[in-house]
């Protein structure tokens, strides 16, 4: 506003009008920088504030003003802009895929109660998981249950359960552990992933055979054969998917070489099964194989059950060799539930491993590398004992947790009750310190294992990769094996002449030696 005016001027209407016009036109001035004018801007801000009527309007005035000044996307003719369309498309696509999860299968309208329902009661497990503070949230677990049901409808499975979730950088994996019905596994068509590794093994075996004629290298490594299906580390088959509702992919069986290599490297998963693993030592396979190897290691290390739930079948126990350990068990029908307090005690005597331990060789049952080369054992017993590699032994099946080695000076398992305030109804929870993310709970006759994590072992020390082999020494330089250039024709001629003259000199008795041989 202009400054002083004499009193007489202020009252005159014509003056007030002109002042008003001046100042209004000032407000209408367009800014040379942004093209805004103050009048329109204030009008817009005040309109917005009056429409929204926020609390403490005076305080938030600057925020509204700033927001109005921000460049707005040009309003399109339709309501949604391109960005919104993209968003709704991806959400829509996923929702459509997941809708299939909720569709009932054919012929399910008549309620059939089957004795052997392949999947466990997911919602019951989800409730216990929630009480224990582990697992995924309820809606996710429900979708998991539906996805498992889908899996059992598409493949002939005897059992299927949710193994867990492994996080990756771009995408995560949801893993289901299944057991095929007897004899049905070979007919399954999803062998795509499996063929690659089998072919590689076949090629390696052929190469090894071809080299039999040539002198044997010092470092001859025979390929440790992988375990048969349904035994040892390949006892169960695993399916993975990135997002519930998308089709499940079967993971190939694991080979001992992959387990041995997986123990030496530590890599994040990307979320794509065909991603290569670049590491030292080079991992024999791609991400699908690495995933399978880690799953095998985690299952072997952390799948536990209350003692007495599983027992050895009486018929399977063999006393002939004394060393043949039973590797099969059945559910104990006379299992007495153990009280939660005992299960949660830190002495860990009430839990046992029910998956076989993986030996350093990479298998669960030791394979003697000598047996492949020699058709019959040597008659000389002494020589055999000296050459025979020591069989590797691991803790037997169904051994209690109290026998596990300490981690970092602490017990490898953390036990707790789910509730401090109501211990009578609490669920016993056990957590692994060696494989962070592996949990188990037990309540009465119900128990379950689950793994949710990144798929790596815990180590108090930082990871250091395997050292590369030292540079091989060259042969020591001896004149006998040092290469020399072939003599040129001139040198040969000179040498030949020298030879002839030598002969002549020897024949010559004059003693007239001519040292000069030209």
């Amino acid at each position: 506003m202009s400054a002083l005016r004499s009193a007489s001027d202020l009252s005159s209407p014509r003056f007030i009008d002109s002042q008003y016009v001046d100042e209004k036109s000032f407000l209408y001035e367009t800014s040379s920088v942004t093209g805004l004018n103050l009048y329109d801007h204030l009008a817009r801000v005040l309109t917005k504030i009056l429409n929204e009527k926020p609390q403490n309007a005076a305080d938030v005035f600057e925020d509204y003003s700033r927001n109005e000044k921000r460049p707005k996307p040009a309003p399109s003719s339709r309501n949604a802009s391109v960005a919104d369309e993209v968003q709704s498309k991806t959400e829509l696509a996923l929702a459509e895929i997941q809708e299939k999860l909720f569709s009932k299968g054919e012929g399910e309208d008549d309620i059939e109660v089957e004795d052997e329902y392949p999947i466990p009661n997911i919602m019951e497990l989800s409730f216990f998981f929630e009480q224990a503070g582990i697992g995924l949230n309820r809606e996710e677990m429900f979708r998991v249950g539906m996805a498992l049901k889908n899996l059992t409808e598409n493949h002939p499975l005897e059992h299927a359960r949710f193994w867990g979730k492994i996080f990756g950088i771009e995408d995560n994996y949801l893993v289901a552990e299944v057991e095929y019905r007897e004899g049905d596994e070979e007919e399954d068509e999803d062998d795509a992933l499996e063929e690659v590794s089998e072919e590689q093994e076949r090629q390696e075996a052929e190469e090894n055979e071809e080299e039999d004629d040539t002198p044997k290298m010092v470092h001859r490594v025979s390929v440790v054969p992988r375990e048969e299906m349904r035994t040892g580390a390949n006892k169960k088959t695993y399916f993975v998917c990135n997002e519930l509702g998308k089709p499940w992919t079967r993971l190939p069986h694991v080979t001992p070489a992959q387990i041995v290599a997986a123990r030496k490297i530590k890599k994040f998963f990307t979320g794509r099964l065909d991603a290569p693993i670049t590491s030292y030592p080079p991992f024999p396979g791609n991400e699908a194989n690495y995933l399978r190897a880690q799953i095998a290691r985690i299952s072997a290390g952390t799948h536990i059950s209350p003692v007495g739930f599983y027992q050895f079948d009486e018929e399977d126990v063999d006393d002939d060799d004394g060393g043949a350990l039973p590797d099969n068990f059945i559910i104990n029908t006379e299992f007495e539930p153990i009280p939660a307090r005992e299960l949660a005690s830190s002495s860990l005597t009430s839990w046992v491993h029910h998956v076989q331990h993986i030996l350093p060789q990479g298998r669960c049952s030791w394979w003697n590398p000598k047996e492949e080369e020699e058709g019959e054992p040597d008659s000389d017993a002494e020589e055999e004992r000296a050459d025979e590699p020591q069989p590797e032994v691991g803790p037997p099946l169904l051994s209690p947790l109290s026998g596990d080695a300490d981690v970092d000076g602490m017990s490898p398992w953390t036990t707790s009750l789910s509730s401090k305030l109501v211990p009578q109804f609490a669920v016993a929870v056990v957590r692994s310190c060696l494989w962070p993310g592996a949990h188990a709970f037990a309540f009465g006759k119900i128990f379950e294992n689950i793994y949710i994590g990144w798929g790596h072992k815990y180590s108090a020390h930082s990871f250091s990769p395997m050292q590369t082999a030292p540079v091989q020494d060259e042969y020591p330089t001896e004149p006998k094996i040092t290469e020399v250039d072939d003599p040129t024709p001139e040198e040969e001629a000179a040498a030949r002449e020298g030879q002839e003259e030598d002969d002549q000199d020897e024949q010559d008795d004059d003693g007239n030696y001519d040292d000069d041989d030209d």
């Binding site: 960005a83 996923l94 009480q131 949230n137 962070p436």
Partner: protein, 272 residues
């Protein structure tokens, strides 16, 4: 995550395996309100859980007024009784970086670590001890400094330098939310000042006063995933495994939580 929407926020991070049992949720709802009143905080956050070898610690943070100023950190073993953690000194922070291994779950436990340093040809052994409480405080502060993030636009700074929440923040769009530059470290800017004037000319002074996570070293140390087909954006830090940030694009909802062992993943370069 803010204590007021604890229940909703926990559902959002459920896909990362972070679950609070009903007992814990009920206890937290009550005890955090009491805490806010007793300590005269303007806002109380449930920071997360530090998993120990025998027992876990639940951590909460309270803010007086300015969001970027000092926050007070509190810990509890049962979500009911809270104890104030001391403010970590530079010495404590340095010591905590050297100590490895699980937290034990006993706040008065003294962790010992033998440090062997090579001076010339001689090896000198030094044993450093640190009380668990101090170690906890130092780890929480380090995690906040390294990985605590907020979406761009959620906070504004006025010309006087005070930071406060942006009341007209409507959330990031889906395309913005899929870019790492839309997320800023919630701490005093470190890399911002070393940028050239040309780079800074594109930035909005009131919104871009913090570093973006796009320039974090090593590249790829953040895992950005879209869940629910784009309905939820989850960022997981690979440097501190267990830190998860979530945001629902198009809405004001965002939050972060840490459920982990409190160990920095220094193997990160090998694992990428």
């Amino acid at each position: 995550m803010e204590s007021k929407d604890l229940n909703l926020s926990i559902e959002a991070v459920g896909s990362s395996g972070f679950i609070l049992s009903s007992e814990q949720r009920a206890a937290l709802q009550t005890s955090l309100v009491l805490l806010q009143n007793k300590q005269k905080f303007a806002n109380v956050f449930f920071w997360g859980k530090i998993i120990g070898g025998r027992e876990d610690y639940y951590i909460a943070q309270g803010i007086a007024k300015d969001y970027l100023s000092e926050r007070r950190t509190l810990y509890s073993k049962d979500c009911v009784h809270w104890g104030l953690l001391p403010r970590p000194t530079a010495d404590t922070k340095a010591k905590a970086k050297q100590i490895t291994g699980y937290f034990t779950g006993d706040p008065s436990y003294e962790s010992e670590q033998k440090i062997v340093t090579l001076v010339g040809d001689e090896e000198t052994e030094e044993i450093i001890t640190l009380k668990e409480e101090d170690r906890l405080a130092a780890v929480v502060s380090e995690i906040d400094n390294d990985v605590a993030i907020v979406p761009r636009g959620a906070f504004v700074r006025d010309p006087t330098g005070k930071t406060y929440q942006n009341r007209v923040f409507e959330g990031l769009t889906l395309s913005e939310a899929s870019q790492l530059y839309s997320y800023l470290h919630f701490r005093k800017a470190e890399k911002l000042l070393s940028k050239t004037l040309l780079q800074r000319s594109n930035l909005d002074k009131s919104l871009d006063f913090m570093d973006t996570i796009e320039e974090d070293i090593p590249r790829g140390c953040w895992s950005l995933q879209l869940e629910r087909g784009g309905g939820l954006v989850t960022l997981r830090s690979l440097l501190w495994l267990g830190y998860v940030f979530y945001h629902v694009p198009g809405t004001r909802q965002y939050g972060s939580v840490y459920f982990g062992r409190g160990d920095k993943n220094i193997d990160l370069p090998f694992m990428l």
